[in-house]
Symmetry: C2
Subunit: 398 residues, 2 copies
């Protein structure tokens, strides 16, 4: 039998999906499972998107331009004015989800063995894309005590080597919800210029900022050749299944290089582009209701979490995630126990152990990520479960 | 300014798309361009696909399972019985086009520096995916004189080294239209078993076989752990823009490994899966009309080509491509000249230089690929242009 590749062996399994069989078993027993484990919004996809897709008059569902339909890119570029970015259609490659934008950037910017610095906890799939590209993720730890603010620049400088090619940030952050302040963005800019690095900026959650807005890296002047922005319609429009994102950069050599990877895979999904283009005509106040709903949920979940004895959860400024520190021995064991051995009012909850969001899983052993993608009533019921569970859990610590 | 990666520099530009600016310029001058250059079918996408997409009742366009919707995989697996393959839903990963299936296979099976043997001329994008994965494509030349039949097995054995991990075939073939006979498939099976290699089988054009059927590699018994089949709905249902394909293998370790790459990118396109599932309910005779149409076009184009003095084009058994050898100095120059400097009855034609389909471009310097994705009338008009052009072309040879 022919063998599997080394990167195939090294490729990390999804840390979130490994609990799925336990959730399925719980449901089979008749237990209600509150899903706070995954960033799948429950908010409805805007009718404008679904209607545009339904009202198409396509006779032949053809390949689109490898960079995506020109009409879509023109409108998307125009929309970036709102975030202070001066972008043309030729500085955008439409991708299959934000995921493909990350892949293109890793492949086009980094050689095998090169390093990308990422503040942790971070989106677990960066590890997967790095493994696929033969690239090393070098973590810089951020801490719950500071609400997961940007670590000191000196911490970055300690790990910068000649192999360092990029810094990758995500703001508003998955999994912490933290939004980098304009001051922190300026510190990153100075660092990136000093060492001539790329700044990869994952802005999947840009619209979900509840007090101060999230600054786009594209708005940092003088950083045009360094910034690569990853965008996606997945969270913005509750359209995760559309698989439509974008790689945006003003670096001409880089966009030309990324285009070669885009041409090899021919084109991004066609139907999704029709929906995404229609979404750009939504009124500016479209996000008001969605934001108000998420903000209210955030207030509910953070309020409830911090009232549970031994639990700490800093107030996240954006996205729809919170990290909570729990009085437990091991978050993987606890999350499995919730599904396997616990119920309250015939219900339990599913959480993401934070071990998967740190390069060193030990750092996440007492933390979980909660995605507030349920309505306030369900969140309250889920928090009732969590409170009760923490009283009963055999691995409780003090 | 940070630098581009080595693989970014090495990544080949699309050989087909580099002529696009010349075609655009010709159209601006008012010249009609017959597009025989790209495998974009003109046949209508079945109404069953478009209707299923239009009639969806989706409220939230969610991520699907990373392997694709279970209901789709169950029906797709069932459909493979028709090609003599015994496949379950768990042996299928739904991918973003056939392209992603190729990428997953290269990443999961091959280490950087490993080699995959591919009979040439071959689908140019294999080169791109190989470059992205750090893998080497080792070509074995097939010849127009034999209609691009499988090269002698001894030719494969000459280049097999300890780095050889796979053989990649495409039958019916892009760009030659050749279909490997059952005898040739058995020879490949013996070779693959002898050296314990993977057999990657790109079956994008399986239904388009005009005399003898195309044998699926999945129907080769005793090769269950070696065969990885790449499938796609792009050509089958004229749905290139849907971006939906599949990786199919009975090798459990491999499917589990490929799933880790699939989980990292979350899910394949959702709307396309709805359409593709509906297409599986089309009656068995759905392909009859399409096949009859392509066969008639093939007969037209091959008949016309071989009547032009100095032109040789073997009769392809499948797909919708033909390779023609022309009395010219350089196919890249000729194809550009057709767009830049030639017209007949205010029309010209766009062809794909075969240089892009060979590892050594010299081998394709007198050859072009023609995709018969136009109706018979347009094909005849295009052949009138070609006949005239070959009389006028300054680089004509004898």
């Amino acid at each position: 039998m022919p063998s599997i590749s080394n990167r195939g062996h090294q490729m990390p399994a999804s840390p979130i999906r490994k609990l799925v069989p336990y959730a399925e078993a719980a449901k089979k027993k008749g237990t209600k499972v509150f899903h706070l484990n995954i960033g799948q919004p429950d908010i409805e996809t805007p009718a404008a998107i679904m209607d545009a897709i339904k009202n198409n008059h396509i006779k032949v569902l053809e390949y689109s331009h490898s960079a995506g339909n020109e009409s879509y890119r023109i409108k998307l570029a125009e929309s970036y004015k709102k975030i202070g970015a001066n972008i043309t259609k030729d500085e955008i490659i439409t991708t299959t989800g934000g995921s493909e934008a990350i892949q293109f950037a890793f492949l086009a910017c980094l050689n095998p063995g090169d390093e990308v610095i990422v503040p942790e906890p971070f989106y677990a799939n960066y590890n997967g894309f790095a493994t696929a590209a033969g690239v090393e993720v070098v973590p810089i730890t951020s801490y719950i005590e500071t609400g997961f603010a940007l670590p000191a620049i000196s911490e970055f400088e300690k790990v910068i080597t000649e192999k360092t090619k990029a810094i990758c940030i995500c703001s508003p952050n998955n999994p912490t919800g933290y939004i980098y302040t304009p001051e922190e963005m300026e510190l990153l800019k100075a660092l990136v210029l000093k060492y001539d690095l790329y700044l990869f900026s994952d802005e999947a959650y840009r619209e979900f900022a509840y007090e101060a807005p999230a600054m786009s890296a594209l708005a940092l002047s003088g950083l045009e050749n360094n910034v690569v922005m990853f965008d996606t319609i997945s969270k913005r429009y509750s359209a995760c299944g559309a698989r439509l994102g974008a790689l945006v950069t003003k670096n001409k050599e880089l966009i030309n290089t990324a285009m070669k990877f885009a041409q090899a895979r021919l084109s991004p999904p066609g139907l999704a582009q029709i929906g995404a283009e229609a979404a750009l005509d939504l009124p500016d106040n479209y996000f008001d209701d969605t934001k108000a709903e998420y903000k209210s949920r955030r207030d509910t979940i953070i309020g409830r979490l911090n009232k549970i004895p031994g639990v700490i959860s800093p107030n996240p400024g954006g996205a729809f995630y919170a990290i909570a520190q729990l009085p437990i021995d091991d978050s993987d064991k606890f999350c499995q126990w919730l599904l396997e051995s616990f119920s309250y009012n015939n219900a339990t909850l599913m959480l993401a152990p934070a071990t998967g969001f740190y390069s060193n899983p030990e750092l996440g052993k007492k933390q979980v990520r909660l995605a507030y993608v349920l309505n306030n009533n369900d969140i309250n019921n889920a928090m009732d479960c969590l409170e009760k569970a923490l009283q009963e859990y055999p691995g409780r610590t003090n």
